[in-house]
């Protein structure tokens, strides 16, 4: 490989979660030039990142401003044309699109590429997902499947790039300016030798935020019991939240909200002993800074998908059947925000500050997990308290299955390439006989369509009837997944495989559909 393009138009946290992939790409393809495409708004983190040779930034805010009025269309068009022209200056051996937007899919379609992992767009403008790991990613983002996913986004990113996770955390490097700014801030704040506990109050969405009053009480409890000093972290937009918390605190913390730039924030985190955070970019900075985090998993946040990518973190999840919730429709009654008690969080903090193997009992049933890297290099979360053993067992089995099936499957989606590799799976009494039956029926009906498609003239009536039969199998699977959500990962994966079939003739379409059912049938048997 000579030219690799990494497209990530996400926020700070998304960019930080890309760092293991960048590291592994450089190690695997040392002579390749790696180009990173990001958003201008989040450029401040780039000086802290390594593993790419050049970077193009999309100024989405400027384009949005231009497009606010019709007369701004020509300027926006020219700016976008210039941007696309710069990025598309040469042929890419591999484009890894880590952005979920349709915009990114259209951008990829305008590039000269050999292989694509992630979203792209076909000639008609239809969005397509390319590469098995990207199919997996988008299959679990769509519905109930997400709660069964146990593979972290950073590990999925690595696999989308065709490289294996290496069991190392996300990484950023401290800048000289960031370090000086943190030291001078802490000096001005009169920090003693006490360990600092960072509190990140905000998040991208209020539904993901633990109440400011809870943070205030936690801060007081931590400072009252001695031994630590708390420090509030956050952007200027989070000042009102900080003010609310400050007004409720008996013991004032250091207030760094709105007072740090990105390099400064990272350097400040490096000087903390611990961070307590909602699902935020700050949490990912902490993981890269090598400090442990107590993650508050609220709203749609999933610790397994986007938890801090390093070993030794703790995550608390409310004991609610709906947690984590779906992205849409947005929850109108986010009771999870108040479902994690201050005492639970304080207990988790103590566990990280003082060490030990378990936190004290929690009567509220809050789930507690600890992160570590597994022997295969993937990040794992071990349940420490109140975990659901059956659900954990099934989710882990899924994770092992996906790793076996998807690893080494290349960048093209063809059913025949999905092979369940290695051993470790024994087919015993089928656990999900109904899905097994349906996938078998799917195989049979698509095999009949393939045979019919090879006849001349085409037996149209018969093909029509077979098509309806196949639709009925598909519908049966969706109903089954509705009744038994634990099957939704398999059904969703088969669905997305079928949605992304690019063949145009009937024989090939039927063959690709057959592949999806065959894979689903095999995986169901192994589950």
């Amino acid at each position: 490989m000579k030219e690799i393009l990494l497209l990530n138009l996400g926020r700070y946290g998304d960019l930080i979660q890309t760092t293991p992939l960048l590291r592994r790409l450089k190690a695997t393809h040392p002579s390749a030039r790696v180009t990173l495409v990001g958003q201008h708004r989040f450029r401040a983190v780039l000086p802290l990142m390594s593993g790419f040779d050049r970077c193009f930034l999309l100024d989405q805010d400027q384009l949005t401003r231009s497009l606010a009025r019709a007369e701004g269309i020509p300027a926006a068009y020219r700016a976008l044309e210039e941007f696309v022209g710069s990025v598309g200056g040469q042929r890419y051996d591999l484009v890894i699109n880590l952005t979920s937007s349709d915009f990114s899919a259209q951008l990829v379609a305008l590039l000269d590429t050999v292989a694509v992992a992630g979203k792209t767009s076909d000639n008609d403008g239809r969005t397509l997902v390319k590469s098995p790991w990207a199919l997996y990613l988008y299959s679990f983002l769509r519905g109930d499947s997400r709660r069964y996913n146990r593979i972290n986004l950073a590990d999925i990113f690595c696999n989308m790039g065709g490289v294996q996770p290496d069991g190392k955390p996300v990484e950023l490097r401290e800048t000289k300016e960031g370090g000086s700014s943190a030291v001078s801030f802490l000096t001005r704040a009169g920090v003693s030798d006490l360990p600092l506990v960072g509190l990140q109050l905000g998040a991208s969405d209020s539904i993901r935020c633990w109440p400011a009053a809870s943070f205030a009480r936690l801060s007081d409890l931590l400072q009252e019991s001695g031994g630590v000093r708390t420090i509030l972290l956050g952007s200027p937009a989070e000042l009102p939240l900080a003010q609310e918390a400050l007004s409720l605190m008996k013991h004032q913390p250091i207030n760094a909200v709105g007072k740090t730039d990105i390099p400064g924030l990272f350097s400040l985190l490096r000087r903390c002993a611990l961070l307590v955070s909602n699902d935020t970019g700050t949490m990912h900075f902490a993981a890269a800074a090598g400090i442990p985090t107590v993650m508050l998993t609220l709203g749609p946040a999933s610790l397994f998908c986007t938890g801090p990518f390093s070993a030794g973190n703790l995550a608390l999840q409310p004991p609610l059947p709906c947690s984590p919730c779906r992205y849409e429709p947005a929850c109108g009654n986010p009771v999870c925000r108040v479902a994690i008690s201050v005492e639970s969080v304080e207990s988790a903090c103590r566990l990280l500050l003082r060490g030990g193997s378990d936190a004290q009992n929690d009567d509220h049933g809050t789930k507690l997990y600890r992160s570590d890297f597994g022997l295969d290099g993937y990040l794992e979360w071990e349940p420490l308290r109140n975990g659901d053993a059956a659900a954990e067992e099934l989710s882990h089995k899924y994770a092992r299955l996906w790793k076996k099936v998807l690893v080494g499957s290349g960048f093209e989606v063809q059913g025949s390439r999905f092979k369940v590799q290695g051993s470790g799976f024994k087919v015993t009494e089928p656990r999900f006989p109904e899905l097994l039956r349906l996938t078998m029926e799917g195989c049979e009906v698509t095999a009949k369509i393939m045979a019919a498609a090879r006849q001349s003239p085409l037996p149209l009536d018969s093909i029509g009837a077979l098509g309806e039969e196949e639709a009925s199998v598909e519908s049966g699977m969706r109903c089954l997944a509705g009744r038994s959500p634990e099957l939704s990962p398999l059904v969703d994966f088969m669905t997305i495989m079928k949605e992304n079939i690019t063949a145009t003739n009937l024989d090939a379409i039927a063959a690709a559909t057959h592949d999806a059912y065959a894979l689903g049938n095999r995986l169901t048997a192994l589950l």
Binding site: L63, L67, R69, Y77, L80, S101, L110, G125
Partner: protein, 593 residues
Amino acid sequence: MNLTALKRIDPILAETTRRIAPVREDLTLEQARNGRAVVKKGGILLHSTYDPRKEAAHWVTSGVPGAPRSLCVLGCALGYHLKELADKGFRGAFIEPDLVLFRLALEHQDFTSVLERFRPLVGIPLERLRRAHREPLAGETIPHPASLRANPSYFQPVADYARGVKVARQGELKILLINPLYGGSLPAARHSAAALKKLGHRVEVFTSQAFAQGLELASEFTVSAHRKSFTGGLVSLLGQGIELKAMEFQPDLILALAQAPLHHPTLSRLEQMEIPTAFWFVEDYRALPYWRDLAAGYGYFFGIQRGDFPAQLKQSGVKNYGYLPTAAAPDIHLPVKLTKEDQDEYGSPLSFVGAGYHNRERFFRGLTDYSLKIWGNEWPLTQPLAPFIQRDAARVDTSSCVKIFNASAINLNLHSSTYHEGIDPEGDFVNPRTFEIAACSALQLVDKRSLIPELFGDDELESFESIEELRGKIDWYLTDPGAGRSMAARGRARVLAEHTYQARMEELLALMICAYPTITQRLESREKSLSTLREELELLPGMEPLLHRIPAGGEITLELLCKTIPKEAGTLSRGERMILMLQQIRMAGRDEP
């Protein structure tokens, strides 16, 4: 002589002026060098102290160029400029809030030629001026510079409002109107949309009421928190829909009617999109206090009440409040010729149309000896009113209402109350039915409301304060139908002149335009850029085929360009992909903080 001339034109003004003393502390009369009288107001000279007539002649030549025409002059002073304009053949109206100054002018100037050609609008408060004298303000307005300097707090808003009215009448504004989710304000929303369209604006309506039935599902939840959560979710969904609609339509302003599903997060995002928002709260603020949670989110709040409502709104963070009573739609509420069948069905000596509120149910017990028909829903079918209630208290549609108003000798109008035993003695706002009955040229007897006198004259509407007074008036008008017909005709004339939805929308828009200069800027820039935008776009690679699919001379927006791209119909060109990408950028912009 002047007063005699004035009396012929406006006897009430003549009488008021005659009674007023031509003296006030801040008004000083002086003599110019040529011997003519000049006046100072608050220390500001309103005329040249050399030769005020020459100054006026110079002002007319340089400040009012062109052929004689109709004008509305802001400021009377001692009238030198008005006299000069009249002598040159101009006509129209002049506006002067200061009666004493006007009296001085009449004393020191021969005003006969002025009064022959210019209608005096003197001593009229701003709000009354914009409601009762729309035509002069909508025409060409010229401020008398010295008057403007001496009394900017009156003349500047008048000048601004006059500019606003002109833009409002010019049409072509893009207005997104948010219908209520449910409730009695839906007809007002429909009439407002129709009125805005008549004014030539491009109106898109967000028909929230389509979800009314869905909202009823809330009653199926037994836990109140669940009901609240469900309702909140639905309102949030509709808010999202409104945002999307705003992004697609890119309105110059958004008008929401009472009970529209707009909540704070949506309002603040609309504010971020720099779209001015207006709310017309056509409900009683005391009975429905939900406005407290929303009012501050709107750019301009319009209500049907005065009293301490504006102060309470200010306390809630509202920056702009406008009193805007409801109105009638004269193409719907009008005199109609009824068939004999209709007359038999809908007609009666005495009728009432409206829901069965507590106070009405109590009050009408005192009228059971009349031939009375009660129309409307929510009436208890019990004695003693049951025999009078029509159609088993079914809801009455608009066209039937109009027939009832036309067919009845006397239409009763009693404003609703949930707790009074009859008339609300402190009732202020005027309900839509008052205007609607009047617009039908039908006689109505309405309970006394404190805000009626400024909307209708004593000879245009008959009101009552007690059951005894009402009974007396019923008897009187039943025996003298001619008197009733004359009063009703005057009432209709007043509605047509001042109280139509079109007039209300014109006023609302003019006030919004004054408060938000961006509205005019957007309109002007749209007009100006229409041709240059097409030219510019044609120069971009790959854009020509898309532009060919948009009619020449028509508006060009990103949405229209996207719509020209056929769905799944062959290979997309680079230009088409670029346009789709820009559209995605714009849509994504709404989610960014």
